[in-house]
């Protein structure tokens, strides 16, 4: 399980490092006032500093055993973590598969996998829904509105 404190800490570190990246990057653009007016890095620089300082404050607040945090020591339990992973991991694999398989094949496989593997739906129904999803995407985007979705490296290899 993950404690509230760890989660606060991780988030503060995440926002803080984004802030540091913003500060460092904005130095390249120049900060201050030049002949062209306010330099383009000035605003991000100040904003980055605000993020860093704010994150430091949140970090300290998160680590200190403050009364408000003591009441909820556990943020995510084991079961909740498993449920989260059950949704997020397949979604991440789906996204990772898009460059290779293309949007249509990847989304069909994704729908089929999340419905059939945990046995939420029968094999046949999962298959039908997967096919319907891919077909609906194709008809609406590629045909009706002429928005091309990625076909994937695999389809390209077969000459589509």
């Amino acid at each position: 399980m993950i404690s509230r404190r760890a989660l606060e800490l991780a988030t503060a570190v995440l926002t803080g490092s984004f802030g540091v990246a913003v500060v460092v990057q904005s130095l390249d653009n120049g900060i201050g006032w030049s002949s062209a007016g306010v330099d383009s890095g000035t605003f991000p620089f100040v904003i980055g500093l605000v993020i860093v300082l704010g994150s430091l404050y949140n970090l300290v607040r998160g680590v200190l055993p403050a009364t408000s945090l003591a009441s909820v020591p556990i943020a995510i339990t084991q079961i909740e973590l498993r449920r989260l992973a059950g949704l997020f991991v397949p979604a991440a694999i789906f996204v990772a598969a898009i460059p290779l398989l293309g949007m249509y094949l990847a989304s069909a496989l994704y729908i089929f996998a999340v419905l059939a593997v945990p046995r939420h739906q029968s094999l046949l129904r999962s298959l039908a829904m997967a096919a319907a999803t891919a077909l609906a995407l194709y008809v609406v985007f590629e045909r009706m509105f002429q928005v091309s979705l990625p076909h994937g490296a695999l389809a390209a290899a077969f000459g589509f």
């Binding site: 653009n29 991000p44 989260l84 509105f145």
Partner: protein, 512 residues
């Protein structure tokens, strides 16, 4: 009332069988693109444009503008049902619309949204009818300093609400600004904050951020709480649609206030997005039930929707009267105008009376057609809420992925969207507010540009924000809204609200 006579003549042009049929087709197509992720009114209008080349200009503009109304209404559907706003301007609708739908009242939420949206649009059209020439002058008076002041006002009315931990709010807001700054800086043309990834030159589109923060983030929160759609009664709730509409007059104060905010922000180039956020923020502060906002309050839906549509409608005015398109959709329509052989601008009102007044009359009729059609579809959309979570969850993931991709045909956007999903989940879990983050992403860039342009004009002096009556009142109003919660808190601290407290602060406002 010269305008009224022209309008009646316009109605004789707009209310004909072929034109009504065009409106129905346009609205239905508009609802479709509005509901679909990644597609919006600009896509729909551009695709229909070639079909209109053979038509009369009036018929063509009626078809295109009807599509625009349909898309505006359709955009609210996904915000309410799935917490995925299709357009920036419907983000504020998710704050109360989605909780209400999740609590098993999707019909009420949708009907309320559509009803108040129609009211907002109606007020906008009435405004156009009577104040066309005056409004054009107001819009012309807007320079960079006034732009900044309007954005500042929108921020101030929304952000100062409190609720979340103040430092967390500040961090969320600042991250939004930083994300908005990614990409090409429009003032100097230099590339900023790309983190070494060349593709980031194009910046981070708001749709990508919102799909992740709201769509995926909310999904993660929901799955963790083992969320199941509450059993909604399975019969189609027609009566609830009318009951929700019938309850609207009870909130007439909110309706009128939001419509006024919307029209003001539509005429001044603040736009529908700033209008809806501002209206929501002000409603939350002044409503008697303000502290329940965010849990599915009726006024939390009414306020942003009314303001959004009032602003969206009245924003068409600068396009017609000045030839300045206020939005991407308006720009495409203007392209159409030129292809049909018309010149947008002040002369349009003199040379092409039939066209202008036919269009204005069609706005009345088109909005009525749109609201009727969209109310008819409410039960169909509400039925979507009854699909089991295990099926709807992967479908929402696909919607977000496709939506993020189709914004600019970029795989990087999809990956970023997923990243925003994790951020959205963490923020939600730890009570970082998401609304300031999104608002900063959407209008942060414009606000910064306006600020820097005014600094260029004034050579670094802040005096430009107090240079004339218009900008001074906007800035002072913004500062007043920012200080209001502080003043209220002080007043509460001293138990009895002493007049001296408020007086000193109002003096401070002027000094600052």
């Amino acid at each position: 009332m010269d305008n009224l006579g022209e309008l009646l003549h316009g109605f004789t042009i707009a209310v004909t069988v072929p034109h009504l049929a065009l409106m129905v087709v346009g609205v239905l197509l508009g609802i479709l693109v509005g509901v679909l992720p990644g597609l919006g009114a600009p896509n729909g209008v551009s695709l229909l444009l070639p079909l209109t080349f053979g038509m009369q200009p009036v018929s063509a503009i009626i078809l295109l503008s009807s599509m625009y109304w349909g898309a505006l209404f359709g955009g609210s559907v996904t915000s309410i049902l799935f917490n995925i706003p299709g357009e920036p301007s419907s983000v504020a609708t998710t704050f109360d619309g989605y909780p209400m739908a999740r609590d098993g009242r999707p019909t009420t939420a949708l009907a309320t949204a559509f009803g108040s949206a129609a009211f907002g649009a109606l007020v906008g059209v009435i405004l156009i009818t009577f104040l066309a020439s005056w409004v054009a002058q107001v819009a012309l008076a807007f320079g960079p300093a006034e732009y900044f002041a309007v954005y500042f006002l929108a921020f101030a009315s929304f952000v100062g609400m409190g609720g979340a931990a103040p430092i967390k709010t500040v961090v969320a807001l600042a991250i939004g600004f930083a994300i908005a700054a990614i990409g090409i800086d429009t003032v100097s043309g230099s590339v900023r904050l790309t983190m070494g990834i060349d593709e980031l030159v194009k910046g981070v589109n708001f749709v990508v951020a919102v799909m992740g923060l709201f769509g995926i983030g909310e999904l993660l929160v929901a799955v963790e709480e083992e969320f199941h759609a509450r059993a909604v009664s399975s019969k189609i709730e027609w009566r609830e649609v009318f009951r929700a509409i019938g309850r609207l007059p009870r909130h007439s104060v909110a309706l009128l206030r939001s419509a006024a905010i919307g029209c003001w922000m539509g005429i001044t180039p603040g736009g529908p997005t700033a209008a809806s956020f501002m209206s929501y923020g002000i409603a939350r502060r002044f409503s008697r039930r303000g502290r329940y906002f965010g849990t599915g309050e009726v006024e939390g839906i009414i306020s942003p929707e009314t303001a959004d549509h009032a602003a969206g409608t009245s924003a068409l005015l600068p396009m017609l009267s000045l030839g300045i398109p206020g939005s991407a959709t308006a720009a495409v329509m203007m392209g159409g105008l030129m292809i049909w052989g018309l010149n947008p601008g002040p002369m349009l009102f003199v040379d092409q009376k039939d066209f202008v007044w036919g269009l204005i009359a069609s706005m009345y009729v088109g909005n009525i057609v749109a609201v009727v059609l969209v109310l008819l579809t409410v039960p169909v959309f509400a039925a979507l809420m009854r699909i089991p979570f295990v099926i709807i969850a992967p479908l929402i993931v696909i919607i977000c992925v496709v939506g993020a991709y189709s914004v600019s045909n970029s795989y990087l956007d999809v990956v970023m969207m997923l990243g925003f999903g994790i951020v959205g989940y963490l923020f939600k879990k730890l009570f970082y507010p998401l609304a300031p983050l999104v608002l900063a992403i959407v209008i942060g860039d414009k606000a910064e540009d306006a600020f820097r342009q005014s600094m260029l004009m004034s050579k670094g002096s802040l005096g430009i924000f107090f240079a004339n009556k218009l900008v001074t009142s906007l800035v002072v109003g913004g500062i007043a809204l920012l200080l209001l919660p502080l003043v209220l808190q002080l007043a509460r601290l001293f138990r009895k609200p002493e007049p001296p407290t408020t007086e000193t602060t109002s003096q401070e406002k002027v000094i600052i």
